[in-house]
């Protein structure tokens, strides 16, 4: 019996300004089991971060709007919760690690105080000041920062160490779900390897579920159980890591992503990039949003939005898979 922690159904998000409406996320659905990690991959502007912010209901107030869909977390409908209840969930049950550790820490507080703040705000265990202090030491140990450094300020830490502080803050309240938004993009490769290894070990030890947002397919291959590929606000491919990295057939966009990465092991002459650019999210193409860049574009792709076809755990949203006996169309409910 599977134990679903998070379920997103037909989520739609728009950013509205006076002049235009940006369709950032268009009807995406996926679910996350307890203890699992899902990777969301895609280019800048694909809607990865918007999806994460929607789960936490942290979209910019004036412009961002969730216009449809449902997000269920442990049986609770997050989109219907009053703000005060939502605040209890944020940081305590769902925590987020942001991309840039330089800007996500407060420069005028010591790192110890910043970790303690999260514990004080979500003090469900009624910890006393002393116990909070002890817990701060505990999480600092967990992420490999000497406890003696908790009285230091963020500027005294290097980039990799700052990201460890951010991770310590996120883990302080033992959340059920950890959302990591490009946690290592701002770090050097040797430091990235250290941080990724640490995230993996902590996840396995604490049994935390995780959403890993990244543009790096290498990171996904090393950390994720399931993978969702996003393009122009849509989830165009979803499957287990096995499906995505070893599967025979893929969405043409996923193939393009793999073709764009220089291969370390083999000698290759030229990369096979995806031609063109991501469509303007204020005016998405009719039919398939990838059609203007697709090598396998057919007539139907320009007029009809593709359905989702599945084979086992693997789902692909593309007309190429219609009428293929191996792939069943998933009825939209």
């Amino acid at each position: 019996m599977k134990n679903t922690l998070l379920k997103i159904k037909d989520l739609q998000v728009v950013y509205k300004t006076d002049v235009e409406t940006v369709h950032a996320v268009n009807r995406i659905s996926f679910s996350l089991e307890k203890g699992e990690t899902i990777g969301i991959v895609g280019e800048t502007g694909a809607g990865k971060t918007t999806t994460a912010l929607s789960i936490l209901r942290l979209l910019p107030e004036r412009t961002g709007q969730i216009t449809g869909g449902k997000i269920t977390f442990c049986g609770i409908d997050l989109l219907k919760l009053p703000e005060s209840r939502m605040r209890d969930i944020r940081g305590e049950r769902i925590a987020m690690i942001f991309q840039d550790p330089m800007t996500s820490l407060n420069p005028v507080f010591t790192v110890g105080e910043q970790i303690a703040e999260a514990l004080r705000l979500h003090n469900s265990q009624n910890r006393k000041e002393k116990q909070i202090d002890a817990r701060v030491d505990e999480v600092l140990n967990l992420v490999g920062i000497p406890v003696s450094r908790k009285i230091e300020y963020p500027h005294q830490f290097s980039g990799g160490m700052k990201q460890r502080v951010v991770i310590a803050m996120a883990l302080a309240c033992e959340p059920d779900l950890l959302i990591a938004d490009e946690p290592t993009t701002a770090l050097d490769v040797t430091i990235q390897a250290q941080v990724l290894l640490m995230i993996r070990e902590l996840r396995d030890r604490l049994g935390t579920s995780m959403i890993m947002i990244t543009h790096d397919l290498g990171i996904v291959a090393q950390t994720c159980d399931n993978v969702a590929v996003m393009y122009a606000g849509e989830l165009i491919e979803l499957g287990t890591a096995q499906d995505i990295f070893c599967g025979e057939r893929h969405h043409p966009y996923t193939n393009g992503l793999f073709g764009s990465i220089p291969n370390l092991k083999e000698k290759s002459k030229r990369l096979i990039p995806i031609p063109g650019l991501m469509p303007d999210p204020t005016a998405l193409p009719v039919g398939c949003s990838f059609s203007p860049r697709c090598r396998d574009c057919m007539d139907i792709c320009l007029t009809k939005h593709p359905g989702i076809y599945s084979k086992g755990t693997h789902r692909i949203q593309c007309h190429l898979f219609a009428n293929n006996p191996d792939w069943q169309e998933v009825a939209e409910s």
């Binding site: 280019e43 800048t44 290097s158 990799g160 160490m161 050097d188 490769v189 040797t190 430091i191 990235q192 390897a193 250290q194 990724l196 290894l197 543009h215 790096d216 397919l217 290498g218 990171i219 996904v220 291959a221 090393q222 890591a241 096995q242 990295f245 070893c246 393009g256 992503l257 793999f258 073709g259 764009s260 990465i261 220089p262 291969n263 370390l264 092991k265 000698k267 290759s268 030229r270 990369l271 096979i272 990039p273 995806i274 031609p275 650019l277």
Partner: protein, 327 residues
């Protein structure tokens, strides 16, 4: 350390040093670098942030004056040139910057940016000719001519980087320093720009110094790779050799740290290096990597290691190879 004596390198450095004087002492940004790049080849310069890659690139073009050493361009030491000769020689050496958002003037149109060098250097008699040439350059780098009157903010990162490339090409240079030209771009766009740079090299016979922290990119584009750590070159080898047989513990760690897009590799135990870069201010004598190195010996912290020649074209600066011939 000229790699093969038979052809004259286009650009060569001899004992190049750049120390910055700061309040805390001397910051050793570039510390005794000896490199040579043959015409038509690409030297990939890899290292982590703060290791002095960009400073080296700028010193090569004399955008920063070095503390000591020589930069030989076609055999002549450009550090001895006066302003007028420097201005002449700069036409042949150009740079493409990392961030296409901040390296081009937002108040100039695309055509103006590309034509600027042509006008400043009085290559053409009239502005019309310069703008015609700019339009041709836009074709070369794959920018549609309809963008000629656009401003940089109207274009995406990939197109902006194409402007930077067109501008660098405008004076028909022989040598281009590419300072992380694809780091700010998405992977699909990155592939487009890498292909463009490689095509241009084939067509125009360009020589590149390609600075990057991304090893998979550097492998793809370079003929030879130099690995830098805290201002020093720790290993240098032809690309295939470096990837098949890395010698320096830092190079090994760097290669092991890349997450590969294949799930078979997930179970692989990787040898991580601990700790972080030490400060480049007044570094202690000895190997700069010693404090993080798992193979540290006593000798490593006594004196700087020499460059040892391991095999044809493969040099490493590490005491583990001190039984090889020094050079």
């Amino acid at each position: 350390m000229s790699t093969n004596g038979h052809s004259l390198p286009l650009i060569e450095t001899v004992g190049l040093k750049k120390y910055f004087s700061i309040a805390a002492g001397q910051l050793h940004a570039v510390d005794n670098i000896n490199l040579a790049i043959n015409p038509g080849e690409t030297l990939g310069l890899v290292g982590e942030s703060g290791c002095g890659k960009s400073t080296l690139g700028r010193v090569l073009l004399r955008l920063i004056e070095p503390t000591s050493g020589q930069v030989l361009f076609k055999g002549e030491n450009i550090l001895s040139f006066d302003k007028a000769r420097m201005r002449q020689i700069r036409r042949e050496m150009q740079i493409i910057f990392q961030d296409p958002y901040s390296s081009i003037n937002p108040r100039m149109s695309v055509a103006e940016i590309i034509a600027e060098f042509l006008i400043v250097n009085r290559i053409y008699r009239t502005k019309t000719e310069a703008f015609n040439q700019a339009a041709k350059l836009m074709d070369v780098v794959g920018l549609a001519r309809r963008f000629a009157n656009s401003y940089p903010h109207e274009l995406d990162g990939g197109r902006r980087q194409r402007i930077g490339i067109a501008r660098a090409l405008s004076l028909n240079p022989k040598f281009i320093v590419c300072d992380e030209p694809v780091s700010a771009l998405d992977v699909a766009i990155q592939a487009q720009i890498l292909n463009l740079l490689m095509d241009l090299q084939d067509e125009l016979g360009l020589t590149y110094l390609f600075i990057t922290h991304d090893l998979s990119v550097v492998k793809h584009i370079s003929t030879e790779i130099a690995v830098m750590y805290l201002g020093q070159c720790v290993e240098k080898a032809p690309t295939e050799i470096l990837f098949n047989n890395p010698l320096h513990p830092y190079t090994k760690a760097l290669l092991a740290a890349i997450p590969e897009p294949r799930i078979e590799m997930r179970q692989k135990k990787i040898e991580l290096i601990q700790g972080e870069l030490m400060s480049p201010v007044n570094p202690a004598p000895g190997c700069r990597f010693a404090s993080r190195c798992p193979y540290r010996k006593e000798v490593c912290t006594k004196a700087d290691p020499m460059f040892y020649s391991y095999e044809e074209g493969h040099f490493v600066s590490c005491y583990l190879y001190s039984d090889q011939s020094a050079c």
